[in-house]
């Protein structure tokens, strides 16, 4: 009974935090320059790990996909699998996981450190709303940066898949491009970008929530950063599944 109640309490607190953030985000004043500063930092810090993590995925899909497609003599069709898998599923999900690992944990650690040192209370004393100045810019920055990074990872994923399919796997270049362009629709791209915006928002929200809830010392800060990564990954996989089912049901 007690763990159930605790879970419900956490969900309720998280939801009211979300409403708080939403309300603060749509009312002025907005700290746009602070948001842009965070965005620049996030892009700088995330671009290399995210690129390095997603690029091999296309290569692996080509490598294993070719083996299956060869059994049926369909290796010309490989790029239809590769394209949809990268654009719709693996590039958004993995890019978001890496953003959670890199950006989410650092945002949580930053807010947690401010909280532990009493800087959040100091802001409130100076009648600067910490929600408005610290949390919301982080959430909005995550929401905007993740789709941006996803554009890059889409290109990297397809490129590495091409390398393993065409020069190394012996698939015809023309057939690869033809099936790629025939199968990938703008809808695929938008689905991927929309997922990224959703996951990015989740990263920012969880980081903000756990960071603001930090109590204690350095260890609590580390725990907030670590929990942000774990919870976000769970949430990303769960939401990804729900979205996939919904899209399959809607036939998109």
């Amino acid at each position: 009974m007690r763990p159930m109640l605790q879970l419900l309490a956490t969900i309720g607190a998280g939801f009211s935090f979300f409403l708080d953030v939403l309300h603060t985000a749509v009312t002025s004043p907005r700290h746009i320059s602070e948001m842009l500063r965070i965005m620049a930092t996030l892009v700088k810090r995330c671009i290399i790990p995210v690129g390095l993590a997603v690029a091999p995925v296309g290569a692996v899909i080509s490598l294993q996909g070719l083996e299956i497609f060869r059994m049926f003599g369909l290796d010309r069709m490989l790029s239809s699998l590769l394209g949809t898998a990268i654009f719709r599923e693996y590039s958004p999900a993995l890019a978001s996981v890496m953003v959670a690992a890199q950006a989410g944990s650092s945002i949580a650690a930053r807010i947690g450190t401010m909280k532990v040192r009493g800087q959040i209370d100091a802001l409130a004393v100076m009648s600067v709303d910490p929600m408005r100045y610290v949390v919301v810019p982080g959430v909005v920055a995550c929401m905007l940066v993740t789709p941006l990074l996803n554009v890059l990872t889409n290109v990297l994923g397809v490129l590495s898949g091409w390398v393993f399919a065409v020069p190394l796997g012996g698939v015809n270049h023309g057939a690869f491009i033809e099936h790629l362009t025939a199968q990938i629709t703008p809808a695929d791209l938008w689905v991927g970008l929309g997922k990224c915006a959703l996951f990015g928002t989740a990263v920012g929200l969880i980081a903000g929530y756990l960071g603001m809830g930090t109590k204690g010392g350095a260890e609590a800060v580390g725990k907030a950063a670590n929990d942000t990564v774990v919870y976000t990954i769970v949430l990303i996989l769960l939401v990804d599944y729900v979205v996939s089912m919904a899209l399959l049901g809607a036939g998109i």
Binding site: L52, A53, L63, Q64, E67, F72, A109, G222, V234
Partner: protein, 248 residues
């Protein structure tokens, strides 16, 4: 650039010392058992939730993709090969690596900045042998088991997704699975787990050990963050390398 090279050379030196400590002496057993329990049993709950969703997702997503060119019948093969050889081991390594690696790095960095490591050295206790080696052994041996577990749960979940949610024929799925997925694939998955576990532990202990006292509490955060990110990126890159060697 020179910063990167310095870190790399530091890492190689650390790896040599850690390897020497790991393989020349038997680590203190109670320490090893404690870390093995924390790393292995502590990750099972998280891993179960994640693999169930990843397995279901693999079925649903591949179905949506294959449906476009009428290849739904490949689903069992694709879910089997893609899942067992690649997805589940990598996911286990990235997720458990994030959890375990962060804990290792935070614990060591905390000891480092509170000068407990120096205290050990003063007492002529080798920190490599007593702090690093048991952790390395624990994670290296725990991750293959976790990978094997993830494979079983993942296949079960993708079967459930295919049969109950998508309404595919269970018999076809099973026979395809039996056709393409053999013991060797499961063994490769666990072998990957062994390599990833060792790598994750080495990277995490390296970043934890490198934390300097002057960085203070922030040093712990930096060490944790780097342990997670570097561990995940290295596992994914290395996975491509291993797959390329074995299946390319």
């Amino acid at each position: 650039m020179s910063e990167l090279l310095r870190t790399l050379s530091d890492f190689l030196l650390f790896a040599r010392r850690a390897l020497a400590a790991q393989f020349t002496q038997i680590p203190p057993l109670p320490e090893f058992a404690r870390h093995f329990y924390q790393a292995g049993v502590g990750s099972v709950g998280l891993l179960t939730i994640l693999t169930v969703f990843a397995g279901l997702n693999l079925s649903v997503q591949s179905y949506a993709t294959f449906e476009r060119f009428g290849g739904q019948d490949f689903l069992g093969m694709f879910a089997g090969i893609g899942g067992v050889r690649e997805l589940y081991p990598v996911m286990a390594a990235v997720v458990c690596g994030a959890r375990i690696g962060a804990n290792l790095a935070a614990a060591l960095a905390n000891m480092k900045i509170s000068e407990q490591v120096e205290a050990l050295e003063v007492m002529s206790v080798d920190p490599m042998r007593h702090l690093v080696a048991p952790r390395l052994w624990a994670v290296t041996l725990a991750l293959p088991v976790l990978c094997g577990y993830a494979n079983v749960i993942g296949i079960g979940a993708s079967y459930a997704g295919a049969v109950w949610q998508l309404g595919l024929d269970g018999g076809t799925f099973r026979s395809q699975l039996a056709e393409v997925v053999g013991l060797s694939d499961l063994a490769v998955g666990m072998f990957k787990g062994l390599v990833f576990g060792w790598l994750v532990a080495l990277i995490a202990t390296f970043h934890g050990y490198r934390a300097a006292k002057k960085e203070g509490a922030e040093g712990v955060g930096i060490a944790t963050n780097r342990a997670i990110v570097h561990g995940a990126v290295m596992c994914i890159l290395l996975n491509l390398g291993i797959s390329w060697l074995l299946y390319g």
